[in-house]
């Protein structure tokens, strides 16, 4: 078990490093120019980025689903994904301001209460199911799935902070999750811009062009982000905070209650007893809570 756990950590680490590098590839390219490869790589960047993100996503998905997604977790995840997809469906019908979307807070809560594995699957599968039902499958989907999966995967990182303030079940827990949701509201937008950023502009002040240093690349992207996306993403971030503050506490209580209810195991029925033998009532019911 210890070995499997270490291998799991290694897979999470490697996919995060490769995925992170893939997303910041446009920033690295100018430095590659210094070793004479920048122009060659600038043409294959979008394809390589998509291939690497897809490969990491496949590896991470295989790992998260690998360790016995049994009937209980499959049913739980299926229904939670359906609920979240309906929230996105409602959002598509009645769009909120800017990048506001009601789906992220439930992804965070599922990751926080049921663990990073469930959080990753919740994030990734919410995006694909809602894309299927709203007919919005597109080139952005792998990036959305991967990034939303990261949100759920990273949600358990809130536990140490909550424990630090001894805040489980208290206001500090919701405030921590609200701050976490606010940060991801902005980071999600910043990451998602990267899949189309190399396509979209060629402004020396804001765009991806070979021939400059990493620092300037980051500065250009920061300018691009401030000009085009910050306002949009701020709405998502603010929406996440408001939803978490308004609905977070009761939702966490409900998810925890059902985590206990889902913690049951089936045992084989006892052999039929010969006549005249008094049954052992202490053996308990067949379904143990």
């Amino acid at each position: 078990m210890q070995r499997q756990r270490l291998l799991s950590i290694a897979i999470y680490g490697l996919t995060s490093v490769i995925g992170g590098l893939a997303f910041i590839y446009p920033f690295l390219l100018p430095s590659i120019e210094a070793v004479g490869m920048g122009q060659a790589h600038s043409n294959d960047a979008p394809l390589l980025l998509t291939a690497l993100v897809s490969l990491c996503f496949v590896a991470l998905l295989f790992e998260t689903q690998g360790q016995a997604l049994g009937a209980k977790l499959i049913a739980l995840l299926g229904v939670l994904v359906a609920i979240n997809s309906v929230l996105r469906f409602v959002e598509t019908a009645v769009p909120g301001p800017g990048g506001y979307s009601p789906i992220f807070f439930l992804i965070i809560l599922v990751g926080y209460v049921y663990g990073g594995r469930m959080g990753f699957l919740m994030g990734a599968l919410t995006l694909i199911v809602s894309a299927l039902i709203t007919g919005t499958v597109g080139p952005w989907l792998p990036y959305q799935m991967f990034t939303a999966g990261w949100i759920g995967l990273s949600a358990p990182l809130c536990h140490p902070v909550v424990r630090l303030f001894d805040g489980e079940g208290r206001r500090a827990e919701i405030v921590t999750l609200a701050i976490f949701a606010a940060l991801w509201g902005l980071v999600y937008g910043a990451i998602m811009n990267l899949w189309f950023w190399p396509f979209f502009t060629s402004d020396p002040g804001q765009s991806w062009t070979p021939g400059i240093g990493i620092v300037e690349g980051v500065q250009r992207y920061a300018t691009f982000y401030l000009v085009t996306s910050l306002q949009w993403d701020f709405m998502r971030s603010a929406g996440n905070v408001l939803l978490m503050l308004a609905v977070g506490a009761p939702a966490i209580r409900a998810l925890r209650r059902f985590r206990r209810r889902f913690d049951f195991a089936y045992r084989p029925a006892p052999e039929p007893m010969p006549t005249g033998v008094v049954p052992d009532v202490a053996a308990g019911p067949r379904r143990a809570q």
Partner: protein
């Protein structure tokens, strides 16, 4: 019905073609092919309709991308007019080259969107789910359950809204969503519990891969480490060939794990999707484009693919073979037009 894998191959080739060129002549040919396929696909419309039509989106994106690029990018020799430098960010020269580059990027984005709307239109959701590799059958099952539960959940949401409205509840603030959301969540979790019990009672269990989990994990770690090492070799030291080799070997290990786990997953199929001549034609059309554009064949001018309007706009070059290969992407238009299943759907619709 056309096989989902044939559509998958067509889609990947289309995306690759759109990514590989900025030559406006080739882009126009790709978009024309997409328009033909899209017209044929949307006349059948078995899948959900997109919220925005691809043509409308392209007509919207191209001018926005062109204006945006011209406003923020002041590169290029052909100056159309100037915005006073005192205006931050957009102040400076507005050039024809920047306008053109933005418009070309808009065409690419529009093409991406059009390709996916074709896929959404021609493949029903169950076929899209079937494209999930067999190794991911738990994930495919979750998606199936979610897709099945979405209409039920929507109905439940409407019922909750009506029940709360009768009690005088109105949504004015974000906190007013609580009486709508909590019954939806708790009701959904109750249904999940019932479903889990039903699945367990009917003998649903995990896959056969538990014994090999450690082997698969080790192969995944090795594969990912090789991809990372190969990529760093290329990026940091410029070792192209060894780096690419390591990356390919690593990707092969990850794909091998998925393929091996898939082979060990037993499954039965209710609706068999058979491979037909039409599917082979679609893939042959896509393969033709890839061979002409990528294979090292003599007599083809692939430099014409790498068009850029900078620093001064020049007429794009055109290679007849490269252009003709694009027509391979239009093969599905002929196949769909000749598809009796879709024809029968149309007559029912």
């Amino acid at each position: 019905m056309t096989h989902p894998l044939a559509w998958g191959g067509w889609l990947l080739t289309t995306l690759a073609a759109l990514s590989l060129t900025r030559n406006p002549l080739y882009l126009t040919l790709i978009l024309l092919s997409l328009a033909l396929v899209s017209a044929a696909a949307h006349s059948s419309a078995s899948g959900p309709m997109p919220p925005v039509s691809p043509l409308r989106l392209t007509l919207l994106v191209v001018p926005i991308a062109a204006l945006f690029n011209a406003a923020f990018s002041h590169t290029g020799f052909t100056v159309l007019f100037r915005i006073p430098e005192t205006i931050p960010i957009i102040g400076g020269r507005i050039t024809l080259e920047a306008l053109t580059f933005g418009a070309l990027n808009g065409l690419v984005i529009g093409g991406f969107f059009a390709a996916f709307t074709v896929l959404n239109a021609v493949l029903p959701i169950r076929s899209l789910i079937r494209l999930v590799p067999r190794a991911f059958y738990p994930v495919a099952l979750v998606i199936s359950i979610a897709v099945t539960f979405v209409p039920t959940t929507l109905r439940q949401f409407q019922q909750i809204r009506e029940a709360q409205a009768i009690r005088g509840h109105r949504v004015r603030r974000i906190r007013d969503w609580l009486p709508l959301f909590m019954p939806l969540l708790v009701g959904g979790l109750e249904r999940a519990l019932q479903l889990a019990e039903a699945m367990t009672a009917r003998g649903f269990a995990g896959g056969d891969n538990q014994g090999r989990q450690a082997v698969y994990q080790t192969a995944l770690v090795g594969g990912l480490a090789a991809v990372l090492a190969g990529w760093l070799l290329r990026l940091a030291w410029g070792w192209e060939l060894p780096g690419a080799g390591l990356m390919l070997a690593g990707a092969g290990a990850v794909i091998g794990v998925v393929a091996s786990a898939g082979r060990r997953t037993r499954h039965t199929v209710y609706r068999v999707e058979r491979w037909s001549r039409r599917d082979a034609l679609i893939l042959a059309g896509a393969a033709m484009l890839l061979v002409v554009w990528l294979a090292p064949l003599p007599g083809i001018d692939r430099q014409s693919l790498a068009f850029t309007p900078y620093p001064r706009l020049q007429p794009p070059e055109f290679d007849a073979l490269v252009g003709a290969a694009i027509l391979g992407l239009a093969v599905p238009a002929m196949v769909i037009a000749d598809n009796p299943i879709i024809d029968s759907r149309k007559s029912q619709g």
